[in-house]
């Protein structure tokens, strides 16, 4: 039962690929931690179902584009997306509603992961917090707006608007300025504030892996990152700390969905159910691959260090609703490009 990792192209062309057996499954996921996934999820599932799993990887936008291109003859059965990308796909009619009766493990996940994009179209499988990080003793961050205060702002890296973290950071800055506008997706105040300090800010990063380097080289003292990037920062000799400002922290949720017109709907549900099981979620968390949404997962402090773990943590996260993201993204981007990027 070898796993065939095919190229996007063969999947797309479809012509070259042998017709899949009725039981076989094709999934589309992010490219990270695939070794861990293979061990904790793919191989055990193949044992169980006596079928072959084909894995396609890529980021949100490229996989969404392929999904759209293949809408007439879908090749993917199960797809992993950010909540916003999943909603976009659902709105375009590319996803099929889930049959919750076939996913009993969904009972055991956090409430916010149970129906994150509405209509029972998707289930959250992992989540992460996004908050501020600063070199201990060098930058005082009590509020998100402190990132833009004197003495901090000229040693600050913010996520670029084009990254997933970008809107989350703006959301929290906006919450500090005017929570009501923030909830409505109006980030004008936050973008204006960032624009005002545009020249002082060191960079708008596009890869969170840049952060450890920038911090270690003394380029920056503070930033906002997702928890998944924290392990790289936590052990730096400069001594960084994860700070949750008074407005709290934001975060993101990744979800699983079944593709509309999927070959093998039943198997797809079984796969999602298995992924959400306490067993798989525990294994993935212990390997540090993904933060668990299953409430039954128990982790030691060490194991939880790089993850976003526990009901308390989940409680404090202000998720930016996917509908707000989709509705306002063009506007944020336009404002950002006009005021900040130029």
């Amino acid at each position: 039962m070898a796993i065939r990792t095919t190229t996007l192209a063969t999947l797309l062309g479809g012509l070259a690929a042998a017709p899949a057996l009725a039981q076989d499954l094709t999934i589309s996921v992010y490219g990270i931690a695939q070794d861990e996934y293979r061990e904790a999820l793919y191989e055990p599932f193949e044992e169980m179902c006596d079928c072959t799993l084909t894995v396609e990887t890529g980021n949100n936008s490229e996989r969404l584009a392929k999904l759209e291109a293949n809408a007439a003859a879908p090749v993917i059965d199960v797809i992993a997306f950010s909540d916003a990308a999943a909603l976009e796909a659902a709105n375009a009619g590319l996803l099929a509603p889930l049959d919750m009766a076939q996913v009993p493990n969904a009972e055991d996940i956090y409430d916010f992961a149970k129906d994150p994009i509405g209509g029972g179209m998707a289930l959250g499988y992992t989540f992460y917090a996004t908050s501020t990080v600063a070199v201990a003793g060098e930058a005082q961050i009590a509020s998100w707006t402190d990132l833009l205060s004197d003495g901090v702002v000229d040693r600050l890296a913010l996520p670029n608007i084009t990254t997933t973290q970008g809107p989350l950071a703006l959301y929290m800055i906006q919450r500090a300025l005017d929570p009501e506008a923030a909830e409505a997706g109006d980030f004008t105040g936050a973008i204006d504030l960032v624009a005002e300090h545009r020249d002082e800010i060191v960079t708008f990063y596009e890869r969170s892996s840049q952060i450890p380097q920038l911090m270690q080289q003394g380029e920056i003292l503070a930033t906002a990152i997702g928890r998944f990037a924290w392990p790289g920062v936590a052990n730096l000799p400069v001594g960084a700390e994860w700070i949750i400002p008074e407005e709290g922290q934001s975060g993101g949720l990744n979800v699983l969905a079944v593709v509309e017109g999927a070959q093998n709907v039943e198997q797809a549900h079984r796969f999602i159910d298995y992924w959400l099981s306490e067993e798989v979620q525990t294994k993935l968390a212990e390997m540090g691959a993904d933060s668990p949404v299953n409430t039954g997962v128990e982790l030691s402090d060490d194991q939880a260090e790089g993850l976003t773990y526990g009901a308390d943590m989940a409680e404090q996260i202000h998720f930016l609703p996917p509908a707000v993201q989709i509705e306002n993204r063009e506007d944020w981007l336009a404002q950002w490009n006009e005021k900040v990027a130029r």
């Binding site: 060191v202 960079t203 990063y205 490009n337």
Partner: protein, 276 residues
């Protein structure tokens, strides 16, 4: 005659067909996308591109950096090339090898080195502060200066090597002759060396300017999102926003600029020669 013509065509056909079908066709289709909107064929994408302040900024920045890099590389390139011609032949060989060497090394490795050098606590800032030239560390990374430095290093050899080969073709005695006649160094350069090495300058200038316009790795690593250039903007529009219309427009602009540069500089080289 017709036989050799046919033989010639048959020898050329495979390469030509390969480029036409495997290369120019897909590129052509991509470029044609720039001229299409939902409403059919139109220049709408170009209008939108050139009325968006951010894109205009990126366009002018790319152009400005390309010109600056080329001009600075040309001035330093002449000094370098002349200095090299005055060394002994064995040293000349070694120096040329040193010039060629960076061209053979991965641009990723070349650019990465600057990350270590230009940082706030990097080699350069430490040196400057130790010597006492600056009190505060200079901010160089993620500025146009960093991209400029990276590009100069990347393309400098491509400027020097053609200059060197045209300098070596100069008649051996023009410079001493000029000196004997009492001309200043500047006059010799302006009246003798420059006209006679114009072709080398054109080749080096084209390679440097077009190379700077279309560099990806250097602006991506050293400039980041605050110093977008056309090539990094194109990648961002495609990978983040699936915006193929803008990508097509940028592609058209880049190719037009490359062709125009080649054409213009070639014209300059040949007309001046004819006029002489």
């Amino acid at each position: 005659m017709t036989d050799t013509r046919r033989a010639g065509l048959m020898l050329i056909a495979p390469a030509t067909l390969f480029i036409l079908v495997g290369f120019l066709l897909p590129v052509g289709v991509l470029l044609s996308g720039a001229f299409r909107t939902d409403a059919g064929w139109s220049l709408g994408n170009f209008v939108e591109f050139f009325t968006t302040p951010l894109y205009l900024d990126v366009f002018f920045r790319t152009f400005r950096l390309g010109l600056t890099v080329t001009a600075v590389a040309a001035v330093l390139g002449y000094i370098t090339a002349i200095a090299i011609t005055e060394t002994s032949p064995s040293w000349r060989g070694r120096l040329v090898a040193l010039l060629v060497l960076p061209l053979m090394i991965s641009p990723v490795a070349r650019t990465y080195a600057w990350l270590v050098i230009l940082g706030r606590t990097g080699f350069l800032n430490t040196a400057l502060q130790t010597v006492g030239l600056t009190d505060e560390p200079l901010r160089i990374l993620f500025t146009e200066t960093a991209v400029f430095i990276g590009l100069i290093q990347l393309f400098f050899p491509l400027m020097v090597l053609p200059l060197l080969s045209s300098l070596e073709n100069l008649p051996r005695d023009v410079i001493p002759a000029g000196r004997v006649l009492g001309a200043s160094w500047f006059a010799i350069f302006w009246r003798v060396i420059l006209p006679l090495t114009r072709e080398g300058l054109v080749v080096g200038g084209t390679l440097t300017f077009v190379g700077s316009l279309t560099a990806y790795v250097t602006p991506a690593i050293l400039g980041g999102s605050k110093v977008l250039m056309l090539e990094t903007l194109l990648y961002q529009r495609v990978s983040v926003a699936n915006d193929y219309a803008s990508a097509g427009v940028i592609a058209v602009i880049l190719i037009a600029m490359s062709i125009a540069t080649n054409f213009l500089l070639k014209r300059i080289a040949t007309t001046r020669r004819a006029a002489r």
